[in-house]
Symmetry: C2
Subunit: 615 residues, 2 copies
Amino acid sequence: MEVERGRTILAAAISAGISINSPCGGDGVCGKCKVRVIKGKSSSLPSAAIGEDEKNRHFCLACGTAVLSDLEVEVPAESRLDSSKSSQAEDIEYQQSLFSDFSSGALTRKIFLDLPRPTIQDNISDLDRIIRQLKKTGNIPGIQTALINIRSLPVLLRDADWKVTITLARRSEGFEIIQVESGDTSGKNFGFAVDIGTTTVSGQLIDLNASKIIGTKATYNRQASYGADVISRIIYAEREEGLETLHQAVTGCINEIITGLAGEHKIDLNDVTAVLAAGNTTMIHLLLRLDPSFIRRDPYVPTANFLGTIRATDAGIKINPRGILSCAPGISSYVGGDVTAGVLSVGQDKADDLCLLIDIGTNGEVVLGNKEFLIATSASAGPAFEGSGVGCGMRSSSGAIQKVNIFAPAGAELKVNFETITGQAPRGICGSGYIDIIAGMLKAGLLDKNGKIGVSSSRRVRNTEAGREFVLVFKEDCGCRSDIVITEADIDNLKRAKAAIYAACNILLRRMSLDFRDVRKIFVSGGFGTSLNIDSAIAIGLLPELPKERFVFAGNTSLSGARQMLVSDQADNTAAAIAAKMTYFELSTEPAYMEEYMAALFFPHTDLARFPSVK
Amino acid sequence: MEVERGRTILAAAISAGISINSPCGGDGVCGKCKVRVIKGKSSSLPSAAIGEDEKNRHFCLACGTAVLSDLEVEVPAESRLDSSKSSQAEDIEYQQSLFSDFSSGALTRKIFLDLPRPTIQDNISDLDRIIRQLKKTGNIPGIQTALINIRSLPVLLRDADWKVTITLARRSEGFEIIQVESGDTSGKNFGFAVDIGTTTVSGQLIDLNASKIIGTKATYNRQASYGADVISRIIYAEREEGLETLHQAVTGCINEIITGLAGEHKIDLNDVTAVLAAGNTTMIHLLLRLDPSFIRRDPYVPTANFLGTIRATDAGIKINPRGILSCAPGISSYVGGDVTAGVLSVGQDKADDLCLLIDIGTNGEVVLGNKEFLIATSASAGPAFEGSGVGCGMRSSSGAIQKVNIFAPAGAELKVNFETITGQAPRGICGSGYIDIIAGMLKAGLLDKNGKIGVSSSRRVRNTEAGREFVLVFKEDCGCRSDIVITEADIDNLKRAKAAIYAACNILLRRMSLDFRDVRKIFVSGGFGTSLNIDSAIAIGLLPELPKERFVFAGNTSLSGARQMLVSDQADNTAAAIAAKMTYFELSTEPAYMEEYMAALFFPHTDLARFPSVK
């Protein structure tokens, strides 16, 4: 591709649609966007992230290197924003989230009509003929149609010999005929459910007739190139063209997933007629190109939390041009539709017992309640559990180390057993892997409660300029360019993430004059792995110490809730009721939160009485 | 303007927005598009419509004359499609159609909101803040908003210091926020009611807050250049680009009227937020660019009879870009929303007594019924009563002769008294004038019952090649280029029009086993004058002979019904109920219709027993 002389390699890569990891937004700080210049002239700013050895091998930061001539650049696997196909393991997990609770009609549905031909005794208009027949198939209130569809009717109906398939879309107070097709195409109606995470975008193509998952794909949110968390994204959005850039980045991800899944399963994009998106409030603003500025400013007001259905193309999503988009309703600036979808998915709003839903993502959201009440809050956890902002982190996809056991036999070398997603050669570590590693290191006495790695005779423990690191896999054992390690800096990131989430849970309980022991069920959700070792999560102080049977690992509940809303009117109505019922508790104005957070910045916690088994 | 060499003067005039009368659609048949070439080279096909004297003075038919060089052309007043401002007389008539029956809310309404500013305790989204406050002002169901408006909220609300005016539009099952304006603009909300007739387009600008008429304007439908009746328009629409051409022609008229009225009354077009259009089924198809082809083909199926509200701009109407358009619901291919509006306007659907609504237009529509039943039919009458297709005809506007008295003193010269609309010098004859003239000529013994002008010693009766003619006004008395006359051909056109309407009424009554004597009230509507002499109409056999008090001249009921629907939810609902209730009776399949029509092709009728006073 052509690039203007003087532009950075990162900017050029973004223009070319190549995703380079750059969580700091191109500020030269994070050191994640390392690339290697193979041929041509370039000029790099100095960076501490590039070692002497790397420099000699022509490594540089993509964000700090200007293009000066034709250039050949290698993007190492570690610097890539992974957009590979999701693992089969994920597919299996998602399949287990059943549709069966809701079955009363998808967001769009196709109905084949064999219309009686007009006669002089029955010569109502073409449109009325369709509506009359539709109403015979069931009670369909307030049917609307856009002019563009009505204009096509006379020729289409007669060419089709009065046999047509109508696509109906649920609108706020009725239904819209969004498409009229010749013949019987009712067998082909597909929808797309998507969880737009700050770090990861996960989507599923759904057969709306069978309420069946056809395929699942995930990719890192390309917006990560412009900042790791929602606040930095909002700041970026305030730049000239910033909002448009972030909007394009996320629709790029969504379109890539839809197109990829449709291509793999030989489905025509025109047969995809509905999208249901769940995401935090900022993500939905960026998707819809709504100004997010006031989300980050006191008193934290979003532009909109709920919009009803709109045309998917108005949000830049490339499905059927008349297809529609609905977004799960949000609650506040920091508790979005992803949380509503999560509550829907686990059925917390119907529960008799007190439940806690903990969504572990870049924002950690927590919902306390049951059928009586629902109260939610949100804590900024950072993307560590999603494998971002940590040295060898990656999202939970093929090759991610997701389960780890560390054995410390007396007098012998440390032994590490691990399992990767789909069993492929290890490429990095995902969230559930990190949880196991820290728990294992604590148990093996390699880590103190502050998260510092102790002196050890093991060759796996090494000193570096930035502190100690623990080698999980040596490069010669995995065929990687470098060893797969966890550093003290990584552990610090993970510690802050788990502390934020634990503290948020605790504050919410205190606010309701309750205690962890009152909670009968804890749903843990998030995309940090395909399974979670609850013991490990308790050992590091991410989850409270409670009987194991109270925990349910629920996977990506935002995605499964979105899917339910996509296939069911009833789920959609339930989500609206959840959003209306849920109250939001603002942590930032709660002085006790900072205390709780500080107290949780230990493994597992300063107050060991809370973790008797660890004690 | 630039014209391609070889194009006709008529085509060039249409491109330039100059309206030349050409009811035959440019086929060289009607001879109405006479123009005079003042300078330049042109080439004309021979035409019987151009006399030797005219030819010498460089008159030619615009449709049959090709442009060969730069040309200076004069369009005589007689050849112009009059688009002048409507008379004050009309304004007065329209004002009398009261709004008072309906007062429950206009199609669009503006509501000023002084919003409470967000606080940390009350930080719902900008959109929710608006909706919450709106709901405090009344029960407003299902509020929707388009993305484009939501996108503007954050900056607009804060710049406006939370004082904004919301424009709400009635949608099928709820309301839409179509506009958010800074400050209190609630005093400025205007709508436009329009009757789209085959021959005449009449519109009114309405203050929606006060339910008050601001101004009225009418113009000939520019589509008349492509055919005089709906069938010839449909045939034209089937040509390549024909539908688009007719669509542009009618939106051109509508926009001309709106822009003209807004300009005269210093109203910003942006403050016009709603249009309510009533028209026959073909006119509404052409307005909405819907294919009308099947309207004219057995079994006569329109594309749509009712659409709900759409964006006005989607129909090419230039008001507020988010403003909406609603069309009065139609019944069938030949009974349209103009009839629904008419029934609404005169309250026929609420009447205890049996009523007959006779709408005298290019299509003559007749509705029989009361609160128990409504049955309608339509007869092709031709545009004669609207002053089209008759030699000196013009529509009812300034200078039209609308009332005529003919005195035949024994042994003395005939004397003609007449009255023009607004009292200006006579320019032509409108429908009510023609009715008076024929009645007067019959009474004076100048006309036989076949419509042939008898031999007379009066200088007003003249022989021409095409038969006899009667001079109403000599050119020296009116300053016209020619005498104002009525010819036997004109009388024949008017006779066929009145016969079609009378026969339609009679067939409809027979169909219901009723008789004219059973009808307690006859509403006569149409734009053929500002008043109607009922005695004259009976004398020529247009109306049945019944006691005079049973007749009500209701003016343009399509326009007054549209206006009621524009200002009132309740009227809008009533119109939908009327359309649902009304049945359509097809005349073309009724063998007795042709007999009735033939029998009515006399003045007043073959069966004089029906007109005892004339007898």
